[in-house]
Structures are given as structure tokens and as C-alpha cells.
Amino acid sequence: MKLVTAIIKPHRLDDVKEALLAIGITGMTVSEVAGYGRQRGHSEVYRGAEYVVDFVPKIRLEVLVDDADVERVLETVTTQASTGKIGDGKAWITPVDEVVRVRTGERGVDAL
């Protein structure tokens, strides 16, 4: 089992979610986060003054998947999240040792 984590632009979340549902992914966790990468935030003008804003709002998306589904999920997330502009984010895969469904005690793939 793997954990797919993606940092994406907030306005891409709906399309990513729909596409994941369409390929049979039944659960995910999202959180609002902020950060920066190579583009180092952006500058903005407000009330006549210019500021550099380091931390840009992003969505962190986490999906637990069976090994067989990893590539498909990664492909779907990155395709749907892409706008082609800087700040599109990143996705990565982490190995997962064990998963337990809290309600039933099921383990492993059954718990996904």
C-alpha cells in the first residue's frame, strides 16, 4: 500500500476529486496549507504598498491506495491539477506499512 500526497492549487481540487471518484478511488483527506517552492511566493500590491508574500495557499491531498492503483492515481492527480503555470505543486508517493479501519478492525487492503 502507498500514500499518495499531492500539494495542488486550491481551485483545482474539485476536478481532481471528481476524476479520482471516476477511477474508483473512494476516499481522500484534504487540508488547507500554505507554502512555497522554486517560485518563492509572489509580490502583491495592496493599499499602495508592494509586499512579497512567501506562503501561497495550497491544498494538501492525501490518498491511501493499493500498490496496483498507484500509477493511475498519480497520473490522474497530476493531470487534473495541472494548469501549466508556476505554482502547480507536487505529488509524491510514500510506502505504508499497515492500514486499519477503525470501526471494524479490518487491516491491509480490506481497510482501504
Binding site: E44, V45, Y46, R47, G48, A49, Y51, V53
Partner: protein, 448 residues
Amino acid sequence: MTNVIDTGDTAWVLMSAALVLLMTVPGLALFYGGMTRTKNTLNMMMMSFSALAVVAVLWVLFGYSMSFGNSIGGAGLLGNPLEFLGLRGLMSQSAVSGTVPSLAFVVFQAAFAVIAPALISGAVADRMKFSAWLVFMVAWVVLVYFPVAHWVFAFSSSDGSVVGGWIANQLKAIDFAGGTAIHINAGAAGLALALVLGRRQGFGKVPMRPNNLVSVMTGSALLFFGWFGFNAGSALGANWIASTAFVNTLGAAAAAVIGWLIVERVRDGHATTLGAASGLVAGLVGITPAAHSVSPIGALAIGVLAGAICALAVPLKFRFGYDDSLDVVGVHLVGGLVGTLLIGLLAAPSSPAGVAGLFYGGGLGQLGRQAVGSFAVLVYSFVVALVIALAIKATMGLRVSDDIERAGLDIAIHAEQAYDLTAATSGTTLPHGSNLPSAGIISKEHKA
């Protein structure tokens, strides 16, 4: 006095007093409270609430007498603080001011005295000790506001038995509802206090955006609503002067929103809600002194100019490095000067004031009188506020510790938070302010 009470006038003045009180709380409290950062929202609102609490009490005790008592020595500088001490003599049925009971006039002017120091608080957001704010406020209203209100608002009686202030009676500068006495006065004091306090950590480097623009817009709309009492109520009667002031107030406020937003759109690329709210207030400030002395078209001109000029003046704090946090200088000092000086150009002979400005063939005389009145209030308020601020800094201290400034004043000073969102999202109440300095630092600071 032989004047007769007019019930219509009395109803309008009492109503107007309530409208002006609405401007401070909740109007200004919401306006400033939404504009500051989340961690200092309540402290910001408390500065307006404390202005109401402290100044209204002083007004009853001796403030009214200092402003509207007979001028000491006939000099036009200060009312006799003993004449109406504790409002004595004014509860009599025969105590009449113009066509309203004297106590109606007392409460209308009380609302003005309350909002003047509350306006200053915008210049000191996020870093001033609450105790120091209370001391500053008492010293400033006693040494500056009460005398200046006498200069501007106390008119001599026609028989000469009561002598009023020098700006109103000797200089004859026009300030209908307080462009000098309220706005230039508060703006100059805010500048002095901001200079002595120093800049906030991160000023000019990190964006300090408003935490709640819904609150800012609601607050500015309440200020707008209350301002009809401020200006039209200053007619002290339900009459054509009030109606003229009412229409001019509407026109200037509306035009100023347009003026401010055009500047913002061109300069910054966006027309912001903060700009709309600020423009509305700038227009109201600009028309305050001029509400009964210009035509409705003149009021539109004052409004659009006040909006545009204040929008251009606001970023000056970054160029010159004074941290006028919520733009009291940029809006109230600059807007007050714009309105007060434009009377010299735009005063219309057909208006209730009946004075001709430069554009109506009246020459430069009125402009000169307006400039002298503005300058006198500006310099007096700035210098005395500077001295008060330096004295407080040298004794009890003006500013919270760096740790408290970083963590926020709300928890450290008032032990509360404006938005307790942690509990709502986590289902459990986390200990307040886990990122705060230790309790020891807070209590030591708070004792001072």
C-alpha cells in the same frame, strides 16, 4: 435666556445625538476592529469602547463646561470649567440653547467628544499598552479636545454676555461640524502618537491585511448612517440648514467612494472593498466642515477630491516611515484639511453660511481664515499630543513588550480572542494561546 424650545428641533437634536453615538460604537469599533490583524481585533474595539466610557464621564463632570462655559477672561481659548461643573444649572427647564433644551445640546456635543479620541486609536493599532491608552486619552481630551471644541464650536451670544471660542467668533473660519475640531485634531494627535510609539514589527515588510472586511464595510456603513446626525444634526434644528447639510453629506460621501476607487484601480490594479469603505469615510470627513457652506455640486467636488487625495496620501506612511496603522493621518488629517481649505474656494453665497469663496468672487480672505484655523488646530494638537506621549513613555511606558506584540494584544491584555475557531474545527478546546509568551511575562506587563 428668552429663547423658546421648539419640539421639532429638540427631537432632531436628540435623534442626531444617538446617531453620532452609533458612529463610535459599534461603527468605528467594527471599522477599526476589522481592519487590524486577528490577534489585535478586540484591543482595537476596546479603544473605541473605552473612549465612550471615559470621555462621556469626563464630559458630564467638567468637559462640557471647559468647552461651552463662558470663555475665561473673554480670551476665546477655554471655557470656565466651574460654570457648569457636573452640568449644574442645566437641568432647569429654563436652560435653553438656541431652540432646544441645553441638555439636548450637551448630549449632542458629548457624542462628538467621544468619537474624537476614538479616531486616534487607529494610528496606534497592534502595539500600545491599554493602560497607556487610557491615560493618553484622558490627558488629550482635557488638554486638547475640550479647549479646541471651545475654539471652534462655542459661539458668543448676540448680546455679548457669553463669550465663545476664537476660531468661531474672532477668526470666523467656517467649520460646520468639526473638520478642524474633530478630524484635523484627531489626525494630528494620531501622527504624534504614532511617531513616539514607533513602528510595528514588520511594518512595510510583511503585509498586514484587514482580518475581516465584512466588519470594515459594516463599520463604514454605520459611520455613514450616523454621520447624517453628525452633519445635519449640527444645524441644531430641523430646518433647511439641516436639509442642506444632509444632501451635501450624501453627495460628498458617494463621490469620494468613486474618487478613491479610481485611484486604487489605476495605481494598484484593483478596486478594493477596503478602498470603498475608506473612500466613504474620507468623503464624510471632507464635507464635515463644509456641509452648510457649499452647494450640492460643490459637495460633489469636495467628495471626489477628498477621496482621491486621501487615497494618494495613505501610502505616504511607507515613504516617510511613520506607522499610522489604520490611516488616521491619511484619512482624517488629510481629509479634514481638504474639506476645511476647499471652503475657501467653494463657499457659496446662496448656502446657509452665506459666505462667498474664491470661486464665487469672494477673494482669498475666507481661504486665509480657513488656513489659519486648520493650522492652529493641527499644530496645537500635534505638539501637546507629542508632549503627553513622551511623558507617558518616560514614566509608565507606551508600548507592550515585543513578545506580546508578536503574540497579539487580545490574549495578553484582555484574556480573550475575537474568533475562537480552534474549538469549532477540532471538537476540543485547546488551551488558549499555546503560542504565547509565558503567563509571567503577560502578568508583569499587564500590571504596568
